[in-house]
């Protein structure tokens, strides 16, 4: 017994080593979440900012119902619609990123090694500038007088400028642009380890290109695809800049509504309740991903993907 205690396994240091990380998680992740959860069950301050310490479920009621001046409650899908749009835009973003990333990642992974390093480096270049500035750049690009409309008009393809800015389209373009590297990099990491001799073997056995991609390459890069999907979908769901600057407030996503509650509307409890809902949606999404990953891994690859979640 004594020997066992002295011989800790390599890399399995004392539990004390985990303390800083634990403290960090408690102070900066768990505590704010608990505060948000508590705030969501409190009443709105009558004047100014903050909350009144009076228990109520009113914020959650407000999610689904509006109260008219006469005090009648009526079902109001406004916020549900915003949640639905947010999830939809995030899903579209993740799917578009996926479709764009697979060819890019595979292309990079099939270059000679010295090129790969450079190309991966190029993928990360956008991170050098603030997301705010890059999103503002898209305001210029998608503008009625921007380069896209200018080029299309100059070529005589369109006579009137297409209004792209301040539409859901612009929001999604901004989101795809912001999160594309988070999809490319994990897929590339999986693809780089892929043994391309397996693809040759599949060709040799009579599989055409798309079949090889679907049945041999994709199963091999699936861990990267799942990781990328999570890394894009979840931040996209909570993104603020793209819908604010490119969606023009008309196509708000949930983060913009939450920001408004803590800002202009001064309804902290309702903002907190919306945040709790986002948390619930993210957790549901993770569970769904985990189930999908588990099911497909049992049917297909033997690799364990649960570890990613």
């Amino acid at each position: 017994m004594a020997r066992q205690r002295t011989q800790a396994r390599a890399g399995q240091g004392s539990w004390l080593a985990g303390l800083p990380g634990l403290a960090y998680l408690v102070a900066l992740v768990l505590a704010p979440l608990v505060i948000i959860l508590i705030f969501s069950f409190l009443s709105r301050a009558k004047l100014g900012v903050g909350v009144r310490w009076e228990f109520t479920v009113q914020p959650y009621v407000e999610l689904f119902y509006t109260e008219s001046l006469s005090g009648e409650r009526a079902f109001d899908p406004t916020y549900l619609q915003i949640f639905f749009n947010s999830v939809l835009y995030s899903l579209i973003t993740a799917v578009v990123c996926l479709v764009l990333s697979i060819p890019i990642a595979l292309w990079i992974a099939t270059r000679p090694p010295k090129w790969r390093t450079l190309l991966v480096f190029l993928v990360t270049i956008p991170f050098w500038t603030s997301l705010l500035i890059r999103t503002y750049a898209f305001v210029i690009i998608l503008n009625d007088n921007g380069p896209i409309n200018g080029a299309l008009g100059g070529l005589g393809i369109i006579s009137e400028p297409i209004s792209m800015l301040y539409t859901p389209f612009a929001t999604i373009v901004g989101l795809v642009y912001s999160f594309l590297p988070f999809m490319i990099l994990p897929i590339y990491a999986s693809a780089e380890r892929f043994d391309f001799r397996l693809a040759e073997a599949a060709y040799d056995l009579g599989a055409a290109k798309l079949t090889v991609l679907r049945r041999i390459v994709l199963p091999a890069v699936r861990p990267g695809v799942i990781a990328g999907f999570i890394l894009v979908f979840i931040p996209a769901l909570g993104s603020y800049l793209a819908p604010e600057l490119l969606g023009g407030g008309k196509t708000s996503m949930i983060a913009n509504v939450i920001a408004a509650q803590f800002g202009a509307s001064r309804n902290w409890p309702f903002g907190a309740a919306l945040s709790v809902m986002v948390l619930v949606i993210v957790m549901l999404a993770l569970v769904i991903f985990a189930v999908i990953a588990k099911r497909t891994s049992r049917r297909g690859s033997g690799q364990s993907l649960e570890s990613l979640l």
Binding site: Y203, D204, L205, T211, G302
Partner: protein, 358 residues
Amino acid sequence: MTANKPLALQVRGVSKSFATPEGGEVRALDNVSLDVAEGSFTVLLGPSGCGKTTLLRCIAGLESPDGGEILLQDQRIDTVPVWKRRVNTVFQSYALFPHMTVAQNIAFGLQMDKLPKSEITRKVEQSLDLVKLSGLGGRRPQQLSGGQQQRVALARALAKEPEVLLLDEPLSALDLKLRRGMQLELKRLQQETHITFILVTHDQDEAMSMGDQVAVFNEGRIVQVGAPRDVYLRPSTSFVADFIGEANLVPLTEGSGPAVIAGWGPVPTAAWAGDSPEPAPGRMTIAVRPEDVTISADPSGRFEVIDATFIGGDLHTVVQVGDTTLASRQPAATAHALATGGRCEIAFRDGSLRVVEA
């Protein structure tokens, strides 16, 4: 030779070059031609980097030749995409799909042929039986030993019943004992299935024991094609003589009259192999096997024994002759008096000397 049988595969004047990372160009195949009879076992033999694997990949369709034609059953296939060729490959790395079971691996190629499910199940079972892996269809490749993975790779390719089966150094990853067993196994499979096999190897013993026909490669060219016995007994170039078995390569001195081995003397007529080519300018090298060289101890002999070593029941001797050395291998009992540093005389067995191209 098997010239009377119909040809499964014809390679005509195929060339292929690769760009090197330094910006140069390597000629991997240089105007290579080869006929492969139906149902035969052809071995492409040569040192690494000689182009034999490149030829195999050109036949499979994984490389496209720069020039020349490849015909399968008299139909050109060099322009047909790899997945449409009735040719399958057993890869050196086996290339088994890790996310599929053994049975799924074998079924993959059959699914590509759009066979009905029942037919696929039947053929998978049949192929597993053929390579003696019945009952292991549910395993994953990583759960199998190297030898078993090798058999799965074979079963996967054979299940497609290809016109020609290509094997790229299939045994190189196996240990020696297993390799010997698999050589016999491959031979059996080839005879049972009547499928034309083309196997690439750098191991001359493998080539000799398995092939009906051996094509010896060197530097992107086929230097000699023939039955293993013919290639061994009648090498046409010094490279073949040296690569297959062992050979002494002895220069002849140029001049009129009978050929003279430098430092030894004129070659007696009886020593020539009956079908040896005549020495000619540019073809002034003799190949002779060590077992055809007899060294006898002679205190007044003209030559010095550089080294004499017993290996098994044989005495291996190296003798200085002129500017070169000559190796001999003879039963120890006939040469007991030979020792390093001693004097000796050399004789060549009748019919053992052959002129080869340099």
